[in-house]
Amino acid sequence: MVPRSLGVAALVAFAIGAAPLAAQYADPYAAALARLDANSRFAIELVMDSARTVGLSDTTLRSRVLEGVQKHASASRIVESVRRKFAFLRTARTMLGQVSNEELDAASAVLEAGAKPAQLQSFKTRQKGREALEAFTIWADLITRGVPGEEASSAITKLWQDGADDATFHSLWNNVQADISQGLNPGAALQNRIRETPQRTVTPASKPPEGQEIQSSR
């Protein structure tokens, strides 16, 4: 019964072989990597190793890979994008020091949008507990929508130094976005709205809300 023995052996081998295959596809990141060519995979893993070596979280970089694959970007574009993101993350940390990974991510998005690294310097010194997550998010958005980088930088930095809270940054963004959507020049919209923004004194960071809450994106 040699053929049957061989058949059973083949089944066992197949099952053993299926284990790593299943492991690969149970992990979306591994599955995404598997869709790239070997050189691209190697290049991306090098970036990941570099990030880990300098103590940066690779979560953002992994998400960038997944996003690129889901958006059907070319392998070379994905590699380039991951490299750029890593470079901006590293620069952001150099400028800001030890801040949360999310703040670092938001700051890197500001750099990616076109801000200069030195423009982050003002955000390094801050009151304990204060985060620039919202400021960076609005800053990156303004540049992305066409506000000149210098104008966006000086406006956000001024607000930050004046102690503006998250609601103030959000209100500014809301108004500028509305003006831009009505056809106003992005730079002019920002200048108009920044003049209306009241100056505030620095207030201690509020305690995060507890329990569940409903937020709407609309």
């Binding site: 990141y29 574009r77 958005d141 937020q215």
Partner: protein, 194 residues
């Protein structure tokens, strides 16, 4: 060749071979008595001998298929366990610290107006940008599509996929995605409701 064609010497041997053998009528009884007097060989071999003894199995096609399915199932299960417990992502996140805490404490409702759309889904860094994971439901009227998503506090990037086309949320800040398009940004909790 017939018997008559053989050599006489061969014929002699053949004739001698054909002659009935005269045996002692009591010989059979003596032999059987001697055999029964011998100790029986051990009916059970050692476990090791039984393990290594060659044997053949027969399997029906149905049994073979079930066995194959079972083995593949074991492989898939082992693979999934490997990915969840020993895979690189888990190790890396445990080592470096995840960006977002694993427990989601805020329910966020995402809404988009797309009256002419046939299919809308939410994608973002919270669902690995997989458009099959968070399909949005259409309201009866107004062309509103919505989905609620448990999110951890912090910053999230997302987009809507409307009939296969990636769209940003008009009510949220945007950033370049690094691939020539834009993503929306959602800041959750910490007093922000962007």
């Amino acid at each position: 060749m017939t018997d008559s064609e053989r050599h006489p010497y061969v014929e002699l041997i053949a004739r001698e071979a054909r002659r009935p053998v005269q045996t002692d009528p009591a010989a059979r009884a003596r032999i059987m008595t001697a055999v029964r007097a011998e100790a029986l060989p051990r009916s059970r071999s050692s476990i090791w001998e039984r393990v290594i003894a060659p044997r053949s199995w027969t399997l029906s096609p149905m049994a073979g298929s079930l066995l194959a399915a079972g083995l593949v199932g074991i492989g898939v299960l082992a693979g999934a366990l490997t990915a969840n417990r020993g895979g690189r992502p888990s190790v890396d996140r445990a080592t470096l610290g995840a960006v977002r805490p694993p427990v989601s404490d805020t329910i966020v409702k995402f809404v988009i107006v797309a009256p002419n759309a046939g299919k809308v889904s939410l994608v973002g860094d919270f669902n690995d940008w997989d458009e099959t994971r968070s399909p949005m439901l259409r309201a009866e009227k107004d062309g509103l599509w919505s989905v609620t998503m448990p999110l951890s506090a912090g910053r999230h990037l997302y987009a809507y996929v409307v009939d296969g086309a990636w769209r940003t949320d008009p009510s949220a800040p945007v950033i370049d995605d690094g691939f020539g398009h834009r993503n929306s940004v959602k800041l959750v909790a910490k007093g922000s409701t962007l």
